[in-house]
Symmetry: C2
């Protein structure tokens, strides 16, 4: 008889451990405990049942206990909760939550994959009402959809602007509800920087979701929620998605060491402080790829790799634990967004010197049907040029470009290493100098001091301070809409109008997407103008950055008319 | 006054040189010569005008000579052909092809970006008929569409199954013509291996294009073409797309050294044998990233980088020339295909020891709408595990997965380096253990000898020789369709039916997509069965591999019924 392997938790991490152990050891006795009714369900797909994109909630379950038994000889016990670990005896105490019976089960190796719990702050009045939901399990989503149908719910408040909150809000809206999305911070989607998020804000607004920022829920009533600002928001159902906390009850009970924010501490083999007990998935502490600092990251991809690595270690296989970089993606109505690595905020918080290239090329050859703007930000270390992160937002294939950067990051590439990067090209899918190539070249130009730039976040300040701004677009473009106060000197005319450009003050140049302004900036630099700045993102970037706050705050726009094309 | 820079050729390579020189040197005098009517047109988009995807042929022109003049102070001279280089005098002789006048123009630096010519073999009778077209320039496509409309063409023969031939055939079919695609080799799309191409063959057939392999055109008549086999194919118009040859007339005339297959020889800075003359793009000899061997590669991405590098060298900037890996992609009706690096044939030809992982996962979470099979082949060196190439075919985002591999290749990654690769994940875009992660793990298992496998190409032989094949799918799946002679022992039953599995002969296991068969193979290996092989790609792979030849050759299928889902 082989090892006796017990696993606490039967979703991503747990099920992956079980399957991997079976492949490594046909003789192992494997028992997987799950306190809920299902093992092996796709928790990442849960929001998509709300809209009917995934029609039946049962479809979310990828594999049943009988299938685990027959196909893998794995004993998957649903409604069985491990309530205690007896480290000395190497046993666990298990409670059958349906019968109330408890029993002991011995182990040679124990894996903890308990996941994380949705946070329900006790400070919110009414948080325990029956119309308040979280969105972590199949029963959670089934309960929400059953409730909203049975109670003729029209308005739903989604609290929390992370991935789950966003996907829940989108799918509720697609299902026909009036949806408010409430986020306490000044931005949704923490993995992105504030500038990139504004583009998504506009999409959310365009699709009729009421996005409320910098406000938090204080009380939940039967027909409305009351916010800290005093504002009330109509809602007959509320979904809490403000974050998760690691499920550490068992680990605490067993006296295992805890790490960051209550997560379970593990070594590089995913062993807890007890070498016979491993832990993987959303409950554990992980390591930041960049800094080696301890962190937490609740993503399915890393959970799967942790599960495999932990099982491998039990069987004497080595595994290099690189740490996590944080790669994710989300679809929000017609807009896709993806990111990897560090963002600006994280670089600042960690004291990492960085700079970034921000470009808005087309995602395929511009004359092809369906070519769209792709907003792309590439962050690199200064002075090494090491790739630190990237963020992409657009209607097309943003995940492709971010996956390329994720690969470059994990292979420790710097900008120079990527200069010759040869990606696939066909006009249907990309451009000959594709988004990543383009961003790398701009990044190198910035790193090498070939030109100066100001970010899109500073343009309002420039306009308000009366700075000299040149609009390098053609006259008909300028006429249609422009930055207030900008002087229109088209790229096609500037060589004959140099006397209009001052040398004794900073001059900021933009065009539509920075291609023409960049050429003008380079030329002016050689013509003796030393104080010339390219405006990142140009008119497209400015419009996207300013729009949401202009409209929601009823703020005076810095452009005569927005132009998003 | 700055340098006087002359450029021969005004498309991808030439226009990129011109723009880069201008950015580096505002004082340079730049003249770009183009013998045709247009500069800066998107040659890669030309086929898409045929179907109307790109409505107007003029849309293919991205920038006109007046725009070059005004925006970049570049003198773009269309209908001006450089007919001779006078190296000693550092001048070129130019002929105005409209007026017949010739003149001399002096240079400090000369760039050659003449491109390549479509091959029109003299050996084919009728090759010069007015209804025989090539597809390299805007006038080429305009001539074809004008001719087919004016002459009520119904049937078109496309000769050559490379990218241009495929795209032309697809777009002609979409425009309503009867299309034959004639390829002399046993497969279309040389950058892919024969096995991957079968999937595309099926798509082409399904969409009603008559795909004719291993046959070549001998004579072109007014209503039909005659093939070497004697077969005739109805065609009132013919498009020749059998390949290109480097335009080297000027280089020859000037006595510049030539390289592989008549291409222009350049050093690592893209200087020809004359240091004042550079050459870039489809006409030049390039270097293989893997072997350092000289080769030719007519792709737009490398051309752009060559242009930048050559211009940079003129201005003293260094540039690392990594060589090319060969990354490309193509859409063929509803199927996308992409590839990078070396394929099996190329590894064999170069004597590189390799192995490969062939997997058929879903391209997003299987329960999400629009999830599709993705056929993925990852080729790596043995024993180093160094990534050599990959090929992907499917209805979804194949280019993303190939771009990740292209990045890994250029950063010299091996399989171990990619084990922890953290890509973006959302159920809309990918899976938690996405295609590349999956392929890397399978590759490592193969490299480490964890299991044995036979490729999909060998299954017919196994069936015909009466080998012991186990179908590990469930009974209802087997009943619906199966490999002839395969014994159905489902993964869910095999542990109780071990006595049915022989130990004294090789046993080959398949399921639907190899997930279940792989688990069975691992288990059997541990249960003392030493001669167990997993069948690559399993039933899905076998069906795709066999279908086209079965149908077109009226061959006896090795499955009772095809199953592509």
């Amino acid at each position: 008889m082989g090892k006796k392997v017990l696993i606490v938790g039967g979703v991503a991490g747990g099920a992956s451990v079980a399957a991997r152990v079976r492949r490594l050891d046909e003789s192992a006795e494997i028992v997987m405990f799950e306190r809920g009714p299902y093992v092996s369900f796709s928790n990442c797909c849960i929001p998509f049942h709300i809209s009917g994109d995934i029609e039946k909630s049962e479809s979310l379950v990828l594999m049943t206990p009988p299938e685990f038994d027959k196909q893998y000889n794995i004993d998957a016990r649903v409604y069985n909760e491990v309530v205690a670990i007896n480290k000395e005896e190497k046993t666990v105490s298990v409670k059958n939550v349906q019968t109330g019976e408890t029993y002991e089960e011995a182990y040679d190796v124990l894996f903890l994959a308990p996941g994380a719990n949705a946070v329900r702050p006790r400070s919110i009045a009414g948080i325990d009402s029956k119309h308040v939901f979280v969105m972590k399990t199949v029963p959670d989503v089934a309960a929400l959809t059953a409730y909203t149908k049975a109670n003729e719910v029209k308005d739903v408040a989604v609290v929390g602007g992370g991935y789950i909150g966003l996907e829940v809000a989108e799918n509720l809206k697609m299902a026909g509800y009036n949806v408010s999305l409430i986020e306490a911070q000044d931005q949704i989607m923490a993995p992105l920087d504030y500038d990139m998020v504004q583009i998504i804000n506009r999409e959310i607004m365009k699709n009729g979701v009421d996005l409320i920022l910098k406000d938090s829920v204080q009380a939940i009533g039967s027909d409305e929620v009351t916010l800290a600002s005093g504002r009330t928001v109509k809602a007959q159902a509320v979904v809490m998605a403000i974050g998760v906390s690691p499920e550490n009850a068992l680990a605490k009970q067993a006296g295992l060491e805890l790490g960051v924010a209550g997560s379970i501490k593990v070594n590089h083999h995913y062993q807890t402080s007890n070498p016979h007990i491993y832990a993987v998935g959303d409950a554990i502490e992980t390591t930041c790829f960049f800094t080696g600092q301890k962190t937490q990251l609740t993503l399915a991809g890393p959970a799967q790799r942790q599960a495999r690595a932990a099982a491998d270690h039990v069987y004497g296989r080595t595994y290099l634990n690189t740490g996590v970089i944080g790669s994710s993606s989300v679809k929000m109505f017609g807009l896709n967004s993806a990111n990897t690595g560090l963002n600006e905020k994280q670089c600042q918080a960690r004291g990492i010197a960085y700079d970034f290239a921000y470009i808005i090329p087309k995602d395929k050859v511009s004359i092809m049907p369906g070519a769209e703007n792709l907003f792309f930000k590439l962050i690199f270390a200064v002075p090494s040029g090491k790739i630190l992160g990237a963020q992409a937002v657009g209607r097309g294939n943003v995940d492709k470009r971010i996956d390329v950067i994720a690969t470059a990051i994990m292979l420790n590439a710097n900008l120079e290493d990527l200069k010759e990067l040869e990606l696939t090209y066909s006009p249907h899918f990309s451009t000959a100098k594709d988004v990543v190539n383009h961003a790398v070249l701009v990044g190198l130009n910035i790193l090498n001091g070939e030109f100066k730039k100001v970010p899109v976040t500073k343009v309002r300040e420039l306009v308000e301070s009366g700075a000299m701004i040149i609009d390098a677009r053609e006259e008909h473009e300028h006429k249609k809409s422009h930055v207030k106060g900008a002087v229109n000197i088209p790229l096609s005319q500037f060589r004959g109008r140099l006397d209009e450009i001052p040398k004794d003050q900073p001059v900021y140049v933009h065009c539509r997407s920075s291609q023409r302004s960049y050429n003008m900036v380079r030329a002016l630099g050689q013509l003796g103008f030393e104080n010339i700045y390219n405006i990142d993102g140009s008119f497209l970037g400015i419009s996207e950055y300013e729009y949401f706050n202009d409209v929601t705050l009823n703020r005076d726009p810095i452009v005569t008319e927005y132009n998003f094309n």
